[in-house]
């Protein structure tokens, strides 16, 4: 581990100032410390934000608001979250392990780094870790990699389950930096790798995530998160799907579908959603709609199975959501 200093901060202003001086925010540390041990991340100073009052979870007029420092476990267990946005609770509970969920914050979860094995090995070529060095995965072991949004430079999936759920629910995020506060859709937090995979997100220097706002819509109670993987828990998704359905008079009025494990960022599926509108919620219609998910998908040597698995996962998630409407 590189030597580093830690600053304890008590206010957002102090935090932003420290980060502006080159400090890196640390919340639960479950991603950052891991990567620092491997020297994949080498911050020379950390800004411990755990004392900031950003641990709120509350229902405002039309939105569920979740503070960046709320822990995964407490959000998942929160009665209001479970009532209005069961999709979020389910996505959180399907992630990591109980121990990690007790430590891990919402802000940290959205900002976690990729799980591509080569990213975590200093001696492997990785454009994301060291720009221009090449990508060891594209011609190497890539069974866990993305089939959507990849480039010649990088094909790592974004690993967060929560992000998939939030993207499906049109959530926004409030951030504050040296230039003040701004708010934007969470999907815009994530960049495609293109030829600059080392640029993962759109936060500006020293910007601090304050909270996440999830619009409340009555039909969101149908939300389900399905995570497909070889072991029953404590594994990242091979493929996952968040599905929300608004069915009235036996016809789909609105649908929200987003997927994990397949894209270089959380992947919203507008073509699938569009194909569902006006249809009856039957398995056959779900299948037909889900077939749109693989438009433009490109498999690498080891992840071709995801092209078969993706529509099946969406179909099943839609069936599960359909059971709740």
């Amino acid at each position: 581990m590189m030597p580093f200093t830690v600053a304890q901060v008590a206010s957002e202003r102090e935090a932003i100032t420290s980060a502006g001086g080159g400090g890196r925010y640390i919340a639960g540390g479950t991603t950052l410390i891991d990567l620092m041990r491997e020297e994949v991340e080498r911050p020379s100073s950390l800004v411990d934000i755990n004392r900031l009052s950003l641990r709120h979870i509350r229902l405002e007029r039309n939105a569920l608001v979740i503070g960046a420092l709320a822990r995964m476990a407490e959000v998942a267990a929160h009665p209001e979250v479970r009532r209005v946005h069961p999709l979020i609770a389910e996505a959180l509970e399907e992630g990591a392990s109980p121990q990690l969920r007790n430590m891990a914050s919402i802000g940290g979860n959205l900002m976690q780094r990729v799980r591509c094995p080569y990213f975590r090995m200093l001696d492997a070529a990785c454009n994301k870790r060291s720009p221009g060095s090449g990508c060891a995965a594209i011609e190497g072991v890539n069974g866990g990699h993305a089939i959507l949004g990849t480039s010649e430079s990088c094909a790592a999936t974004h690993p967060s389950d929560l992000a998939v759920a939030l993207v499906a629910l049109d959530a926004t995020m409030r951030v504050r930096g040296p230039q003040g506060e701004r708010r934007f859709p969470i999907i815009d937090l994530y960049r495609l790798p293109e030829d600059k995979p080392h640029l993962e997100h759109t936060l500006r220097p020293a910007e601090l995530i304050l909270d996440v706002h999830v619009p409340v819509q009555p039909f969101a109670v149908s939300g389900r998160y399905l995570k497909v993987r070889d072991r029953s828990s404590y594994e990242f998704a091979l493929v996952s799907a968040a599905a929300v359905l608004d069915v009235r008079n036996g016809v789909v009025r609105a649908a929200r579908v987003a997927c994990g494990g397949v894209g270089t960022r959380p992947w919203r599926m507008p073509a699938v959603e569009a194909a569902l509108i006006g249809q009856r919620p039957t398995r056959a219609n779900f299948e037909t709609a889900a077939a749109h998910a693989t438009q433009g998908a490109r498999a690498l040597s080891g992840n071709g199975y995801k092209i078969a698995l993706l529509p099946r996962t969406i179909t099943r998630a839609l069936e599960m959501a359909g059971e709740k409407v």
């Binding site: 581990m1 590189m2 030597p3 041990r37 020297e39 392990s97 799980r115 094995p117 080569y118 975590r120 090995m121 200093l122 001696d123 492997a124 060891a136 011609e139 190497g140 072991v141 069974g143 497909v228 993987r229 070889d230 072991r231 029953s232 828990s233 404590y234 594994e235 990242f236 091979l238 199975y305 078969a308 698995l309 099946r312 996962t313 179909t315 099943r316």
Partner: protein, 743 residues
């Protein structure tokens, strides 16, 4: 043995120590003035080191030494091969030359004041290499299978080629047959406790506190590396946090810790990281197997052909008995086996729980299941029709044989008769349900072992042997044997293990600790009783002084006349504050017994799986194991072993695989988040049942051993259940979503 603690489910005697943190593991033996060592590993698959830029690193804060082939002392490396070392080839000699034989080979060690400083310096060390392309996979077109030297003779324990009858002809001449290839992934042991060694020198004497299943071999290996007498080396390891075979051999890091301590002249602590646990501490070799079985329409086997190919390293021939069970488990006149190695540019594989047997039996038991399906016959009935009366590989009678009884008992308890044999016919909502069965067998070996017993004047009894307890409960079961043999309460026994200056014990692996050390403890306790009788007649102050020894005996913890007349003395009364009684004995199996019988334990596994065929997900619903293992010393501990075996088997069947990048041989999933082992949610309620079995031939205690038998057969029972659920045969382990979607 009297009404005794033998066979009772007493709790682990070391349980309180373990749960309270009082049990000390290797890395916890802090020494004053100690430094920390961190190994730097090669980042190429094969080639040589061109340069090492150590100067900057040597100046880093806290760094005391950077040791590599450039500055390491030339070490003696006398010839030494323990039973757990491959007999052919030469072990890796660290820091002795610039050659790189596999990805991750240790190339340097950093010694620093703190662990963080050593880790940081290790990351900063720059090496330049001249790299070549390694060969890492046995199915690489460039791979060259070889006959391992030790397997060349037809009567070798593990034979490259062996045949009885004429298997290929019989196979060709029979109508009902299966012929299939099974591919099994490389596995790493991945125990909880990482390898760790604390090394400390005093002059030419070395003490190591080191994670080991075999302290005596560790002593011999360290003595050989440094060219010092074995008496100068003391290896201490009272507790092992799981090992599964990875701590049988003495891997390079142990020598590195000792070397580092020698160079800096201070005690040194070294632990491997989880990633390093995948580099040079052995693994279950990757294998490809062909199993071809033919039977008459009545289900009588006519031919079995079993061919296995396994990886080994370029510098050692690691062999294991993959096809041996095939030679005797079922009655069949024509059997041919073949075993080849493919040397690859990777580190040497090693024994991993049920080495060879686990692998070979997967192919055999799946093959039999496929044959049963082809015959439209119940798989248990198929086995019944091919039950041998003698071991057909050598003509010897079985000392006891319980395969059918295990199958039948299990079938009854599992409700096997309710199974609809048609694949895909059983459902629970979206889930397709499958029931599978497989048999298991493993030898019941006994190795020569020594034990010492000391009867103390205060009534306590100290028993010792240089064995180990990696989890099966050696501390407890040995105390039970001693207590039962002596007829004293188990609380009075203190069994000690894990020091190389204790009486000789064999490796703590191969399921033979209970049979070997247990019988040595028994013999030593019997010898202690004889010594007590001698003391009684020789001690002038004894009330029995002057009697002939043969009129006295030790029974139920007291000494007195055989005819029951007169007083009886217990240990305290006998020793009256004088000298303790010390004895030390050896126990071993006579060659006569060894050559007379075919001695094996047996088991049967039944499992119910649920398969989501759309998504390729397999979940285990329930599992039952029935075991014929002779006498069970402590059913609670034995059950614990057995459920551990089932969990290991679930991992083998559905999750575990070490994936190498073929370009440089690096393991890419060397991480507990990526090398999957079952979590709680993957493991349903597991049931176990021990048959009441008496086998007087195996050894005086009637023990067969269970640690490995209990994982063999689990994976095929699962694979067979997956077939029953889906109608798909996935002949690759682990069976993952990807395979099921593709099948």
């Amino acid at each position: 043995m009297s009404t005794s603690v033998f066979g009772q489910s007493i709790p682990r005697v070391d349980g309180p120590l373990k749960v309270s943190g009082g049990a000390r593991y290797a890395f916890e033996f802090n020494q004053s003035g100690q430094l920390y060592a961190v190994i730097v590993n090669a980042t190429i698959g094969i080639g040589r080191i061109v340069s090492i830029e150590a100067t900057g690193v040597e100046q880093m804060p806290g760094v005391r030494a950077v040791i590599s082939h450039l500055n390491a002392p030339k070490l003696t490396y006398s010839p030494h091969k323990g039973v757990i070392d491959p007999a052919v080839g030469e072990r890796l000699r660290v820091f002795q030359d610039e050659q790189i034989r596999f990805f991750g080979q240790p190339v340097a060690v950093i010694v620093a004041d703190t662990l963080d400083q050593a880790e940081h310096a290790a990351t900063a060390l720059r090496l330049r290499y001249d790299a070549q392309a390694p060969l890492t996979e046995i199915d690489d077109p460039r791979a060259q299978p070889i006959v391992a030297q030790q397997t060349a003779a037809a009567n070798a324990r593990v034979a490259a080629d062996r045949e009885r009858g004429s298997a290929d002809q019989a196979f060709a001449d029979t109508d009902v047959k299966v012929d299939a290839i099974f591919r099994m992934a490389r596995e790493n042991h991945s125990p909880m406790e990482p390898h760790a060694t604390v090394a400390s020198w005093e002059g030419d004497s070395l003490t190591v506190w080191s994670k080991s299943q075999y302290v005596l071999n560790e002593r011999a290996e360290l003595a050989a590396i440094f060219g010092i007498p074995p008496e100068n080396v003391l290896v201490i390891c009272p507790f092992v946090g799981g090992a599964f075979g990875t701590s049988l051999r003495t891997w390079s890091h142990v020598g590195i810790a000792a070397l580092a301590a020698r160079v800096v002249g201070r005690p040194v602590k070294l632990a491997l990281t989880r990633k390093q646990m995948f580099l040079d501490t052995g693994h279950r070799p990757r294998t490809d197997q062909r199993i071809a079985i033919a039977a008459t329409n009545q289900g009588k086997l006519t031919a079995i052909i079993h061919e296995a190919t396994a990886e080994t390293s370029r510098y050692e021939e690691f062999i294991e008995g993959i096809t041996n069970q095939t030679e005797f488990l079922y009655s069949c006149p024509n059997v041919r086996t073949r075993y080849r190695l493919v040397p690859t540019d990777t580190s040497t594989p090693t024994y991993m729980r049920a080495p060879g047997e686990c692998t070979g039996m997967h192919a055999l038991e799946c093959g039999l299941d496929e044959l049963a399906a082809a015959l439209d016959l119940d798989p248990i009935e198929l086995r019944r029709r091919n039950e041998p009366t003698v071991d057909e590989s050598n003509g010897r009678p079985f000392s006891s044989r319980s395969l059918l009884q295990c199958l039948e008992t299990g079938a009854e308890r599992f409700g096997w008769s309710q199974r609809n044999p048609r694949p895909g016919s059983m459902r629970d909502g979206r889930w397709q349900i499958g029931w599978g069965v497989a048999g298991s067998t493993r030898g019941a070996p006994q190795a020569p072992a020594d034990a010492s017993v000391r009867l103390l004047p205060d009534g306590r009894v100290e028993v010792a042997s240089a064995t180990s307890d990696m989890g099966p409960g050696t501390y407890t079961s040995m105390a039970q044997v001693a207590a039962a043999t002596l007829g004293v309460p188990v609380e009075r026994i203190k069994f000690e293990l894990g020091r190389s200056d204790m009486p000789t014990a064999p490796s703590h692996g191969g399921s033979w600790t209970m049979a070997s050390v247990g019988n040595a403890v028994r013999s030593a306790c019997l010898a202690a009783q004889d010594a007590a009788v001698r003391r009684a007649v020789e001690d002038p102050a004894s009330i029995f002084h002057g009697l002939t020894a043969d009129v006295l005996h030790w029974k139920d913890g007291t000494l007195g006349r055989k005819n029951g007349e007169g007083p009886r003395l217990d240990q305290v009364a006998l020793l009256r504050g004088g000298m303790p009684i010390d004895v030390r004995t050896t126990a071993s199996r006579s060659t006569d017994i060894a050559n007379r019988y075919s001695m094996y334990g047996y088991a049967a596994f039944f499992t119910e799986v649920a398969v989501d065929a759309d998504l390729g997900i397999v979940r285990i619903r329930r599992m039952l194991g029935v075991y014929g293992i002779g006498k069970v010393v402590n059913p609670r501990l034995a059950r614990s072993q057995c459920i551990g075996g089932m969990v290991g088997g679930i991992g083998m069947a559905l999750m575990e695989r070490t994936v190498l990048d073929q370009r440089d041989g690096r393991p890419v999933n060397a991480h507990m988040a990526d090398y999957l082992v079952p979590v709680n949610l993957d493991v349903p309620t597991l049931e176990t049942q021990f048959l009441d079995e008496q086998d007087d031939a195996v050894n005086p205690l009637g023990i067969k051993g269970i640690g490995e038998l209990c994982i063999i057969g689990v994976a095929p029972a699962i694979a067979n259940a997956v077939y029953h659920a889906t109608g798909k045969r996935v002949r690759e382990l682990p069976i993952r979503i990807e395979n099921l979607l593709g099948a």
